[in-house]
Symmetry: C2
Subunit: 217 residues, 2 copies
């Protein structure tokens, strides 16, 4: 049985591994968890002892298969609950993340799997993020980050890799939601901002925004 803290560390280490495709270092984890590096070191030792990851002093950590399985189970719960909140309880996509941060720690396989069935085994959550099935498998559709697009290219917005309510509310305000068709009109070399076109509008967005939007061509 893992504590809520341990689960959160495992989850964040997993997402950092995915993001950087490499071993994860202490300071990165500290920033993500919003804690101090010394606290991270303590926890890494503990998780290594529990054989969820390999840890070498000064060299960072890497989840082993057992740790990866734990991470996927928490991510599965998080995204199932987000889906539940939107589909069944009429939450909007910018209201679900904080509550899912709590719900992801509820421990009951039966609950998770029945919830999955109740939702008709969804494959993506309200942010377009893939939901692992009960075996930890999920379909990896190759989505491309908007900042990789060239002028003139078009795509469909299918996933947002930032669950914060401020960011999602910003997207709402600009009528950007999953399924929106986007065309790149202009790219600014100086600050990597872009002018994009949707059904309704044409407007400029900063690199900070383009970095978090993922599309299909």
């Amino acid at each position: 049985m893992l504590s809520k803290s341990e689960e959160n560390y495992i989850k964040e280490i997993y997402s950092l591994e995915q993001k950087f495709q490499s071993d994860v270092n202490t300071n990165l984890i500290a920033k993500k968890i919003e804690t101090k590096a010394s606290s991270v070191t303590d926890m890494l030792k503990k998780l290594a002892k529990k054989e969820l990851l390999t840890y070498q002093k000064y060299k960072g950590v890497k989840l082993n298969p057992k740790g990866t399985k734990v991470a996927l189970s928490i991510i599965r719960k998080h995204r199932l609950w987000e889906t539940f909140l939107v589909k069944k309880l009429n939450f909007s996509w910018d209201e679900v993340h904080e509550v899912a941060e709590q719900l992801e720690h509820i421990q009951s396989d039966k609950l998770t799997n029945h919830l999955d069935a109740f939702l008709d085994f969804p494959t993506v959550d309200p942010h377009g993020e893939p939901i692992p099935n009960k075996h930890g498998n999920f379909k990896t559709t190759k989505t491309i980050c908007l900042n990789q697009f060239q002028i003139g290219e078009k795509g469909v917005f299918v996933e947002v890799k930032n669950d914060s309510d401020t960011f999602l509310k910003f997207l709402n305000k600009n009528n950007l939601s999953i399924g929106t068709k986007i065309k790149v009109i202009e790219k600014e070399d100086f600050d990597n901002s872009m002018v994009i076109e949707t059904n309704k509008d044409q407007f400029r967005i900063s690199e900070n925004v383009t970095k978090n939007l993922y599309l299909k061509r």
Copy 2:
């Protein structure tokens, strides 16, 4: 913001107050929470300091209005989740209590109230226990404990005041569920056991069972 521990203490103190209609003493709480009397004393001091209850050394405690409100909010969440699990996720009534013990600590008024609406504002949970509404009000239907019934009396089983899975599984095995009609055939003075009759059967149950079944005449 209260910790999970603090919430559990408040909840159990409330239910003991209801059960014994009096101030609650340290040892009773210790038994309910499955902890030591010394731990209870520590917590009572803390809860008194937070002004959720009145505490006098050696005299026991009593929830004040603020504490009572907290208790009712947790009980509301517990019973709404139990209802959700049975009505929407196909859990049986003996499988819900442990999961609800976790879910009752999720903190989001929006979630609680939307769940309530999703379930069509249920007034009782799968065990016949009343569900407080968002203002903490619930209808108090006068149910009578089976052990108060006389020989020959009939009633309808409407509430069970024991959520443990072993007890509920015992009821399942004997076809006793909410709505079952029961007639008292025999009462044994020696051990307060009873022989009861249902549609299907006639059999003896111990005082331990009669104490936990509540009926309407």
